[in-house]
Assembly symmetry: C2
Homo-oligomer: 364 residues x 2
């Protein structure tokens, strides 16, 4: 367990050195119940990712990496390595961090003797975990200076809007979009966060609002459709969202509804930032059109889950029987609507600037 | 009861000649239960409007008018007339039809001898009802020619997107935004309707999807945040929404989330039409900034209502205890984002064209 995760007061993912399992928070139960789930096999990891007990691009990357290490605990053969890689990779198609983390562990171990593989895989997964913590903190520092500029200019509470959950629960550390908010709050900046509920799975209402409450950060929940009005009223100083995959041209694939917020921000002159750890950049995708958009079960739209009046978790049907729904989980925000990308190496204003920040990774 | 309402297969509002009550569908129970509620006093009408058993700008205008007639059944004094007018007017602040209908009944009766007032008020309310039915049909015909143009051009299913419910349930007749859809379906045009669920109260999921199912019109439910992606993918041919109040400059106040859809439509070259009965135009409001935006209880955001797995109606809490929410019920779409206004007198492309269509009402 990394010290930095103590600062979040809870951890989306814990791995204690020497153990052959990881513990994750079951995020499907939040905010009504805080319960951890033990992942002790590659299958456990795949199920946790697929069923969204864990979610968030950086977090599923780390859980995928540990899943591959767990597979190698059982069988260190080439066949087992590739089949576990394929199984884990198939769990969620959109976030690129998962593939990136799996490829990284795979590359680390594939040329080793079988008996050395499991140990090396665990070490690589731990490295991915630790790097994610550092990336989050660096993103936080770069974002903090944006927030300080706004606070200095306005001399009043800074209003940040976010969508979905790109918080500590989506990562191994402070979160991506939330890291600047957490650091600003820690230094006493007066802040208020507009939390967009994020239908269908309500990660804003369930997770982001909960993270803000855990840290005593002022926040207000809104429906997804209210963001345009709030920006038009001048009630939003900036928007910070996370990303599931960013194409080489800067197009941003993120939770459904992100594009609508970017349009509203552009129409009202509100800066729109994307918190972007470099493993989320897919240098091989020329544009957002090349990114596969996951279609999830229509039940997520047709049934809203929460806590009933009797205190039980349940789902309520919101439409008549037989209603058909379509559930694209992500959308694509074109680069032209993005004010900047907050990476671990600093703020990039456009795709060319992103390439300059990561010259060793960007294709020539 | 007007014959035209038979065509809707259910009626949002029924008044049989000679009776001193009206029956309304309790829209809070749809789609899970179809139940009418009798309105037999001005208080009943006020409660039905305030608690949203009835909703939709044209419908609450008509129910308000009948409410004033009911008040005059009991007490025909000037004092009773003004106090009932004030009470009914206070139930919902944004839709202008309510004030328009109340003022119209008031103006019709105020100069009459007290004993003539009740009868005249019922007649005026019936006239408002009948005119709304005609207005809907005229809007439907004008919208139908837009749909025919698209069908001719593409030679495939026409994809219409709508938001909230501007359907038969929002009016006394065929609905406003739905009237062109219903007429096109009746003449056999292949149609598909994207129904945006419309958080917080889910009028899209609860009401519009139900209306489409009742008429066997192909439709798909989506979350509000998905409209941008669908337009970007080319899956939407046009958007038609209703309105709660339109300012003299053409700014449109409508259900929260409408502005976001208009932005997405503009960004993707998708025509964005507003179905606009003339009583919804507030010629005295110079722009959308002059329209009061209703703030409704935060519980509508924090708790989603539906049918539980045991078949009961219940609400589920979607956020942790103590989460604060803000619930603006409407937003404002600026005129520049509107492709046209479908009125009972034809299509107006901008505010100047609207004034030309209604020269006797528009201020000089």
């Amino acid at each position: 367990m990394n010290d930095a995760t103590d600062r979040t007061r809870y951890s989306a993912l814990l791995h204690a050195a020497g153990t052959h399992y990881v513990d994750v928070l079951d995020q499907r139960l939040l905010p009504h119940r805080v319960q951890t789930q033990r992942i002790a096999s590659a299958d456990d990891a795949a199920i946790a990712i697929r069923d969204m007990a864990v979610r968030g691009a950086p977090l599923i990357g780390a859980v995928g990496a540990y899943g591959l290490a767990l597979a190698l605990d059982t069988d260190t053969s080439d066949a087992a390595l590739s089949s576990a890689h394929a199984m884990l990779d198939a769990t969620r198609p959109t976030a690129v961090n998962l593939r990136w983390a799996l490829d990284r562990v795979h590359a680390r171990v594939v040329s080793l003797a079988p008996k050395e593989r499991a140990h090396a895989a665990w070490a690589e997964a731990d490295a991915i975990f630790a790097e994610d913590v550092s990336i989050n903190e660096a993103i936080g520092r770069h974002g903090l200076s944006l927030l300080r500029d706004i606070a200095r200019e306005h001399e009043r509470t800074v209003n940040v809007m976010t969508h979905c959950n790109a918080g500590a629960l989506a990562t191994c550390g402070l979160g991506t979009a939330t890291a600047p908010i957490f650091l600003a709050h820690d230094e006493g900046m007066p802040l208020h966060v507009w939390v967009s509920e994020t239908r269908p799975r309500l990660q804003g209402a369930n997770l982001t609002a909960w993270e803000m409450a855990q840290r005593d950060i002022a926040h207000t929940l809104i429906v997804d459709g209210a963001s345009g009005l709030l920006m038009r009223r001048g009630d939003v100083d900036l928007v910070i969202v996370g990303a599931d995959r960013v194409a080489a041209n800067g197009d941003v694939c993120n939770k459904i509804g992100t594009y609508d917020k970017a349009l509203a921000a552009a129409d009202n002159g509100v800066p729109f930032y994307v918190a972007l750890p470099s493993p989320t950049i897919d240098w091989s995708a020329p544009s957002g059109d090349a990114i596969p958009i996951e279609t999830r079960p229509s039940t997520e739209v047709l049934e809203v889950r929460g806590r009933t009046s009797s205190g039980d978790a349940d789902g309520v049907a919101i439409a008549g029987d037989g209603t058909r729904a379509l559930n694209y989980a992500f959308d694509v925000t074109p680069q032209r609507l993005v004010s900047g990308y907050l990476t671990e190496r600093g703020l990039a204003r456009d795709a060319a600037a992103l390439r300059r920040l990561f010259p060793e990774r960007a294709p020539r």
